[in-house]
């Protein structure tokens, strides 16, 4: 799942003939003034300026400004660009035309197992949740594209009529084309607006998710997906992501502020179960972590050090299932080095470490980590005979 920013989404809409308002993405407010000289719409329309970054709740943060003229838009961009929100810095703003319109519609396409489903309502806008009953649905099997006639009929079912039904049908067909050809996972346009005087449509606001795994067949994808965790990444998270990007196997790390139980867990499936066990037993997790696919020991060492430096942790859960091919001895070697390094830097004071793991070279790996006890670590090591997440119970009861 990869959410993309409005700019790249609008570009893709344009490519597939989905009407969008005029817009520009800028990094330099002076550039907007120059663009104003070149583009009539910037001088003559009401404008909206939005921070073009992956930041949730932009409205509340004052990062969306509506109904501006060009001078006000320049001032607004000057004010936004360079602002720091948490660890994120606003580098770009998108300036778009605020189209005067008569009606607001809702149009959405979501992928599902057998294809996709189109959702359409003639009562879009901010009240869509309240008008959810008006939404009509159309299933589109994979690799099939419905005829314009069928889509116009669908628009009629959703309450559109006459020329508007035809035009909406056409926009749906382009949405399906865009969805299909751009390996999209979902596209939600709300509102899709119409100005009836010149029958002009525009997707005023849209959220688009693309399948980033498919990037190998999209030469024109010049964007990166935005953070999937609902906030900008922290520095530590970015460091681990950077390592993840250049190794065989993977290491992943997400901070959860305020938690007491740190997770240093293996495998995409098992690590989620460890988080669940902490929560189920009334604990709080300080992070999510995962290493899998037999990553090199230095990558696991870096992950270990990152986790050891989390503030206020009381336990570290070194958990994992019985690995298929991740070498326990080698990855534990990285963990052991990480623990030693962290201890020498003054971390791990009063932190209990709980270990449970199996897999290739498990005996050597477990024996090696068990020896940390002699070096003064508060460490408790269990092999495969201990049920996987029960070390969480032991930690929380200790």
């Amino acid at each position: 799942m990869a959410k993309i920013l409005e700019g790249p989404a609008m570009k893709l809409f344009n490519k597939w003939g989905i009407p969008v308002p005029n817009y520009v993405v800028i990094m330099d407010p002076n550039r907007l003034e120059q663009l104003g000289e070149a583009n009539k719409w910037l001088r003559e329309s009401k404008l909206v300026v939005k921070a073009h970054e992956a930041i949730g709740g932009r409205f509340k943060l004052g990062l969306v400004k509506l109904g501006l003229n060009l001078q006000e838009a320049v001032a607004a961009s000057r004010e936004m660009i360079g602002r720091e929100i948490g660890t994120a810095v606003i580098r770009q703003v998108i300036v778009a035309e605020m189209l005067d319109h008569d009606e607001e519609y809702y149009l959405c396409i979501n992928g599902n197992r057998d294809g996709a489903e189109v959702l359409l309502s003639n009562r879009g806008g901010v009240d869509i949740e309240e008008n959810w009953g008006t939404v009509r649905r159309l299933f589109i099997p994979i690799d099939e594209s419905p005829s314009i006639e069928r889509l116009t009929e669908f628009a009629s079912e959703a309450g559109f009529s006459g020329e508007i039904a035809e035009r909406v049908g056409k926009i749906v067909s382009r949405l399906v084309l865009c969805f299909d050809n751009e390996d999209a996972q979902s596209i939600e346009i709300n509102p899709l607006v119409i100005r009836k005087s010149d029958m002009r449509f525009a997707a005023l606001d849209a959220v688009m998710n693309v399948d980033y795994d498919a990037r190998f067949r999209h030469a024109d994808w010049d964007f990166k997906p935005v953070s999937e965790i609902g906030r900008p990444f922290t520095e530590a998270e970015q460091q681990i992501m950077e390592i993840d990007g250049r190794i065989k196997g993977s290491v992943k790390f997400v901070e959860v502020p305020g938690g007491e139980i740190a997770l240093l867990t293996a495998g995409g499936g098992a690590s989620v179960f460890y988080s669940d066990a902490v929560v189920a037993r009334g604990g709080t997790i300080a992070n999510y972590a995962e290493y899998s696919g037999d990553p090199p020991d230095w990558a696991v060492e870096a992950l270990t050090e990152t986790i050891c430096s989390l503030p206020n942790i009381k336990h570290i859960i070194v958990g994992g299932a019985i690995a298929n091919f991740t070498d326990v001895k080698a990855t534990f070697n990285g963990i052991i080095n990480g623990f030693r390094e962290s201890k020498s830097k003054g971390y791990l004071e009063n932190v209990k470490i709980w270990v449970r793991r199996g897999g290739p070279n498990e005996n050597q790996g477990l024996a090696a980590i068990r020896k940390l006890h002699d070096e003064g670590f508060d460490i408790h090591v269990y092999d495969r005979s201990m049920p996987m997440t029960d070390i969480v119970d032991l930690a929380l009861n200790s």
Binding site: D183, R217, I229, V272, D276, A280, T326, G358, D390
Partner: protein, 610 residues
């Protein structure tokens, strides 16, 4: 009994090195359950025509690599299953071709990062053709006692620990690969093991679902209960619950569902597999899945750790109602063991292997090389130099400070002697002909011999002989040499003479004799010889080869090592000449005609061949 894979399963692996690794793991299982090799062929165009070596126990098998699936299937008609181990951008085409091949009934894909659309299309194609597409991101399928597809089950020891050599009564279906292995272990630890375990992969749209396999397990009389490991996202677990509730089912269902932690995570924060990306509350959430499965009659522990007791409970119920009989424990000692590698049994002292070579100077089996026992880094740290390493590797002892200084100076002084001498000229001709450094330097190196630089060893050897056999009898030594060897090696120079002495020789002799405390019997002897030979002829001086040879003998270097000093020193020069020529982009050298005396026959007619 089992589902999906059994003793009749024969496999083609589409992919390169990861596929080969899987085939080797699969062959270990073949050996454990005593079945023929499961993998019959590879398809991987870059390695077409190769044979891949795979051990089934102690038996070495060769499995062919084909460039096309069509060819592989034509030559191996028994193949009915394809495993996809190729990269994400080519995985779709490979799986599609396999699903369209008439013999292949099951395609399982381990490839991760496959676009969702590709997976959806493959699922549709499989359904249309009445076949199964398992994966993407599937670690594989394991049928205990029958067949292993992929690396599922891990290392050989684990196969035994999980009772995978014989069938049990539990089916396993998981999204996660790591947890399929864990679940198999739990079924062995708390029950009697598995019939088949399938990893369907953690992607958003896997090619199969829990219900596909629940139906199969329901129809497999050996399977009495099924363990599923699901997670937040999608509706496959809810569908499994619906399936269970729909009618009376023979099999019992146990389910662990991951992702309840998302209820308490900050808004929008999600993690885990690609498929575990939706649903916080309501449909798709872990809680909803757990509830619907419980309502449908499945046993659902609140944590994964609780799975052990659930399996134990079901196992005991099955034993109690007579559905299964307790199997006698198999003595592990009776199970086959992978033949150990030679190194392992040598370590245990059970076999003697005669070494092929013996070394007395160097060992790099530790963290760093050790020269005659000394760690290279420590030598550096303690201020030793390259001349000390030369002594260690050539003479197996550390020299004194004075001795190593002599060695250093010998090398410095003989590192190069201009471009005109045979060695440098050879290297230069090579460089000008455009050949690479090692070849050009070797060309110069081949010049080293009796007439050029190669006299150090023999000079040292014969002067040492003289010291021993003809002390105080230089004429006797010269007479013996004349009779048995010929000219004295180390004596004589083409251009240098008494009047035009070789400065290098004078310098070396002066340095060693007047500035060091080295005892120099051999050098002294040679200088006495020189007095007599120069009285006969002006240029019969002790040359640099002879001087070096004598000093090195006095330093107690082994005789046969002495030429090594010239070779080593001159290598530095020859490399320099190669670099010099190539950095000037020197042109190919051709001798001018006027530098050649064409002493050949006059031009004449070729006679008819008789």
């Amino acid at each position: 009994m089992s589902i999906l894979a059994n003793r009749d399963t024969r496999v083609v692996i589409i992919g390169g090195v990861a596929g080969l690794n899987a085939a080797r793991r699969m062959a270990q299982f073949d050996f454990l359950v005593n079945r023929p090799l499961t993998v019959q062929a590879f398809v991987y165009p870059p390695e077409e025509g190769q044979q891949k070596e795979i051990y089934r126990g102690g038996e070495l098998k060769n499995v062919p690599v084909y460039s096309s699936l069509e060819e592989a299937l034509a030559e191996n008609p028994g193949i009915n299953t394809a495993l996809i181990y190729i990269g994400a951008s080519r995985a779709y085409a490979a799986a599609k071709e396999a699903l369209e091949a008439s013999n292949i009934k099951l395609v399982s894909m381990i490839t991760e990062g496959v676009p969702e659309k590709d997976a959806k299309r493959l699922r549709k194609l499989a359904n249309a053709n009445g076949k199964l597409f398992n994966g993407p991101s599937s670690i594989g399928i394991m049928s205990a006692g029958e067949c292993r597809l992929g690396v599922i089950g891990g290392e050989f020891k684990n196969l035994k620990l999980c009772n995978l050599y014989r069938s049990g009564s539990f089916g396993v279906i998981t999204k996660s690969g790591g947890l399929s292995n864990e679940a198999m272990w739990l079924c062995a630890q708390n029950g009697n093991g598995i019939t088949t375990a399938v990893a369907i992969g953690g992607d958003a749209y896997p090619g199969t679902d829990f219900v596909t396999y629940l139906e199969m397990f329901e129809n497999d009389p050996e399977t009495k209960a099924v363990v599923i490991v699901g997670e937040v996202g999608g509706t496959l677990e809810e569908e499994a619950a619906e399936w269970l509730a729909a009618e009376k089912r023979r099999i019992k269902l146990i389910a662990a569902i991951g992702g309840t932690c998302q209820e308490v995570l900050p808004q929008g924060m999600k993690f885990g597999h690609a498929g575990a990306k939706e649903g916080k509350k309501g449909l798709g959430s872990a809680r909803s899945k757990m509830n619907s499965l419980r309502e449908a009659g499945a046993l659902v522990p609140d944590t994964f750790g609780g799975l052990s007791n659930c399996i134990k409970q079901i196992y005991e119920e099955l034993l109690a109602d007579g559905s299964i009989k307790p199997e006698p424990e198999i003595d592990e000692a009776l199970l086959p063991e992978l033949p150990p590698k030679v190194q392992e049994i040598m370590k245990q002292g059970e076999v003697i292997v005669e070494p092929l070579i013996r070394t007395t100077i160097s060992d790099d089996r530790g963290e760093e090389p050790r020269y005659v026992g000394y760690a290279a880094s420590q030598l550096c740290e303690k201020g030793y130099g390259i001349e000390d390493v030369i002594c260690l590797l050539w003479n197996k002892k550390l020299p004194s400070r004075e001795e190593s200084e002599i060695i250093k100076r010998i090398i410095m002084i003989s590192a190069d002697h201009g471009p005109a001498v045979s060695g440098a000229f050879g290297a230069i001709i090579g460089a000008c002909a455009g050949i690479d450094l090692p070849q050009a330097v070797s060309a110069g190196m081949t010049m080293i011999g009796p007439r050029f630089g190669g006299a150090v060893t023999n000079a040292g050897k014969y002067f040492k002989y003289g010291v021993k056999e003809f002390p105080n009898d230089i004429p006797g030594f010269l007479a013996w040499m004349k009779q048995n060897v010929g000219p004295v090696p180390g004596i004589g120079h083409r251009v240098k003479s008494l009047k035009n002495p070789d400065k290098r020789v004078k310098y070396l002799v002066d340095y060693v004799k007047n500035h060091t405390s080295l005892h120099t019997p051999c050098l002294d002897y040679a200088l006495d010889v020189e007095k007599i030979t120069t009285s006969k002829k002006d240029n019969l001086i002790l040359n640099v080869d002879g001087t070096m040879g004598c000093i090195l003998v006095d330093l107690e270097f082994p005789e046969q090592s002495l030429n090594g000093f010239f070779v080593l020193a001159r290598t530095i020069g020859m490399i320099g000449h190669w670099i010099d020529q190539t950095s000037q982009s020197s042109k190919l050298i051709r001798l001018y005609d006027y530098l050649i005396n064409y002493a050949v026959k006059e031009e004449r007619e070729v006679p008819e061949k008789k």
